[in-house]
Symmetry: C2
Subunit: 453 residues, 2 copies
Amino acid sequence: MTAKPCIPKGTRDFSVEEMAKRNYIFDTIKSVFGLYGFRQIETPAMETLQTLMGKYGEEGDKLLFKVLNSGDFRSDVSDSDWADCNLNRLAARLCEKGLRYDLTVPFARFVVMHRNELTFPFKRYQIQPVWRADRPQKGRYREFYQCDADVVGSDSLLNEVELIQMIDEVFARLGIRVAIKLNNRKILSGIAEWIGAPEKIVDITVAIDKLDKIGLDKVNDELREKGLTEEAIALLQPIILLQGSNEEKLQVLRRELAVSETGLKGIDELEYILQKLSASALRSTLEIDLTLARGLNYYTGAILEVKALDVQIGSITGGGRYDNLTGVFGLPGVSGVGISFGADRIFDVLNQLDLYPKESRQSTQVLFVNFGENECGVCLSHLSRLRAAGIRAEIYPEAAKMKKQMSYADSIGAEYVALVGENEIAEGKITLKNMATGQQSLLSVDEVIALFV
Amino acid sequence: MTAKPCIPKGTRDFSVEEMAKRNYIFDTIKSVFGLYGFRQIETPAMETLQTLMGKYGEEGDKLLFKVLNSGDFRSDVSDSDWADCNLNRLAARLCEKGLRYDLTVPFARFVVMHRNELTFPFKRYQIQPVWRADRPQKGRYREFYQCDADVVGSDSLLNEVELIQMIDEVFARLGIRVAIKLNNRKILSGIAEWIGAPEKIVDITVAIDKLDKIGLDKVNDELREKGLTEEAIALLQPIILLQGSNEEKLQVLRRELAVSETGLKGIDELEYILQKLSASALRSTLEIDLTLARGLNYYTGAILEVKALDVQIGSITGGGRYDNLTGVFGLPGVSGVGISFGADRIFDVLNQLDLYPKESRQSTQVLFVNFGENECGVCLSHLSRLRAAGIRAEIYPEAAKMKKQMSYADSIGAEYVALVGENEIAEGKITLKNMATGQQSLLSVDEVIALFV
């Protein structure tokens, strides 16, 4: 019973300091979502395995946390199921539920289940933990929060425009300088079509996606391995290495992909989005980036990713348009576009750049020192007045030694310490000590309150 | 693949309307927690089964959701484990993790694991879902949020005083009239001692707890069944039926329990708390209630429960003092006192009394009707200005029929609809329609903003 307690690997406790920082991030994001008419939903942590399985590829199925059936979980398992080596089938007998792996599939399930109560376009956001049985490593956890905003039931590119404005606003508020990288799946499809290898689109984009990591030569090697002709590879070179301003890139693409209807459609979409955004004074850089191929099996139009400019870290936000969110649940034709903020990475970026404002700590503003029974009664009445004025205030609960009380004040990050002894009581005042400067002043309760409002 | 999707029984989706209401409740509670110096932590959804098992009684162990080990979950299970009928042992081989069953045990584990980083007293709050494989029924779910505040590492009764003030403040802010019922475990122990049946304390309090439901006669019958003598039962009568003001009750108790040191200690504690609170102008009723015996195996001092006065529903908040939170994890001597708000029931009470303020809906304040490409560009620039002023605003993403756009406005609860057509553009103005009154006015952007600030 007294073994040293621990938590499952890949999971984390969040201390009061960490939670204050995380709340600052989430509250910032929520405010911006609200300004754009997005509203919050929540779905259960557990979904049926029927909802989850087969949605994340074979690898994803393995990474699902499955929940043992309650009661006699053995009753659905025959001895041959057990003796058999098929772990998947055995797991399916032992478990009918699993933990949420992302927010997208539960959202699709939500839209289908509640389609008769919803009015489209439906703009929702969702901030909840997800669980993946990935091998834990630095920056990769088995439980982490996702923070998604999506519009479903509208094909309008205005949605892309607003989502990008939201991204810009969130990072401006957080004080993080970012580049927003844009691509369009239709352009990638157009490219594959144009070089005569439409069935190779995934291979091509996967290879292009590695450009930063392995360099052009190895990308070309990989394309060769995947069976692209030398001619196709040659045609691809200007595309892979596309340079210049967004206008210049669009111009090259429009020329090279002139034969591809799909490609031109993608170029039009990208141009429309850039044009609408050009009027809205974004603080972020906007950059067409054809190497962007995240979630390619999934996205059908816009693809976007956000990189922090001042910290070396992977993408801190991503998103794109998908055409058939809910088809897998029997409701075809629901298209959507969404973004997902990477809370853990944003947390790291803010830490590294030391960008948390002091108020985000939400620490106690006034700690009353406890001098004993009589003084305490007076403090309680002062406390009521301070709290009624919205000031975060508390009293040390015992008449402990001054040193202990002051060290508590330090540990909670109290801004001021209030001393109410015999003299103060006689004068109806409070001695207030500023913990940063050490300065002390004798003030009335009203004067103390005035310091904070 | 296209089977009608569903969610696991006993779990819920929360719609945007429900989430807005829940956020209103949680935000209210969080603000009050913050004013009293409580700060938030979070712990992982999964804990090791070693942490969870044996903490909630045999019944609780059965109600834990267990998570199947990832990878080859069969490798730790011998064929005889499988053939054997011991489900508990088999589950322990298949699973090493389980879902959080409450917030108290993970908090105890947190305190022990982080004791060297924490300064005591440690005042934390925690708002997270918990999971129990209970049979679902009306008002009882398999996933529900708990909302706990605790102070650990302090024996001072000031903590009880502040927790009760917090409860009072939360319900005052929510507009729910409540009675806060108080008891003390030491008084109950004193009673058992006094009637000469100290080992019967649990039986006695369980029986007393049923007074409301089954009446005095059946309580006495139950005490008889549990082996109490007629003499003991006779002695108990004035206690079970204690009436009058808190002062009168304390007076009777002080007289009856004069022989019990423990009982008198409990009476002193209760009196101290009531006396300190009498100075603080609570809006709630405070009521000594000896039938209150919740969590008796657990609490060692104060026990409290909150009842809504205007709605027939069980306790909506509870709490008490415990002396040995962390002993089971090898850290003895950490006492604490805490409260837990019943978010689901508070949600129901607010619904029944229709007490949600309009602002809590967080719905869109201005919806711009989309008349087409040209008008849309102008709207985007108006939208930027409104949002910069903190107004929740959006534009319908397509130039759909007016009727469709207005029905969307209704569905999202938009306060105003903004019409920007040729005339408005020429004049640099907005026609704003109040959705509640139907009234329309032609306003400049500044005038629109002025409506909301």
